[in-house]
Amino acid sequence: MTLPGFPDAAPLAGLAGGVLIGLAAAIMLLGMGRIAGVSGIAARAAGLGGSGMERSAAWAFVIGLPLGALVIMAATGGIEASFASPLVLAIAGLVVGVGTRLGSGCTSGHGVCGMSRFSGRSIVATLTFMATGFATVAAMNALGLTVLQ
């Protein structure tokens, strides 16, 4: 299925992926009583702060992420991905790492788990990172900076 006016969009795969992410967050909440926020759990696994989650459980969650991607790769015969150059990835990674810790979360913790329980902090955080994300891409395009190879 395609969306009228957006030939490149994949709405059904997107929705199915979103439902899986929601189910994963539900398993974490109802099973472990915790928010499935990836930046916080990754920081916890690496010993760089984060919540009071047991480190072993944080590691189990983190290891699951690429395992899940492997399942989709096997099921679909490969996943498209065009990445930026090493330098750009390093800069972006550093900014994401600093930003998510200062901002107490990322797309998963604030965007999915927080927005869905109508947390004021998460709604403000999500609107903020969406706005700067839009602005960053718009500015880079205006400057003619293409980063993906």
């Binding site: 969306l3 979103g18 009071g52 972006a92 990674g93 994401v96 790492g97 927080g114 960053t136």
Partner: protein
């Protein structure tokens, strides 16, 4: 392995599958969504919508549970204060997300899709997290 490890692994695996299926692990897809003023790709709105929809229902059910299945109690954030750190940090995160089209979950999941690139992103992200940890300790 105990139940807590298994449930965390299952959650992470389902999460990673959702990210890959939804297109979040492809920076071109993500930057296409963030390119609101250009050739906009709405796919990620469906990812976000699907995930939020499921969790809206789950949050209605959660208060009826006395405790989580495999933990003593729920550990859900209770803060309500809007701080400069929350807003500034989120603004920074959005900039980094826009630059390379990757956020933390997809960066880690992509370690099996584009190993070299994802490893650089994740290592730099952990360095950034470590930097914040250091400044917090010294303040």
């Amino acid at each position: 392995m105990n139940a807590r490890l298994i449930i965390s692994l299952v959650s992470g695996t389902v999460f990673g599958a959702g990210l890959a299926l939804g297109g979040m692990t492809d920076p071109a897809r993500v930057r296409g969504f963030l390119d609101l003023l250009g050739d906009w790709d709405p796919t990620l709105a469906f990812v976000m919508g699907g995930a939020v929809l499921v969790m809206v229902l789950v949050w209605q059910f959660q208060p009826r549970m006395v405790r989580p299945l495999f933990a003593e109690s729920f550990a859900v954030p209770t803060r309500k204060d809007l701080t400069p750190s929350l807003i500034g940090g989120s603004a920074l995160f959005g900039i980094g997300w826009g630059i390379a089209g990757l956020c933390p979950g997809p960066g880690i999941a992509a370690l099996v899709i584009e190993p070299a690139g994802a490893a650089i992103f994740v290592a730099a992200m952990l360095a950034g997290m470590g930097l914040v940890r250091l400044t917090e300790r010294n303040s």
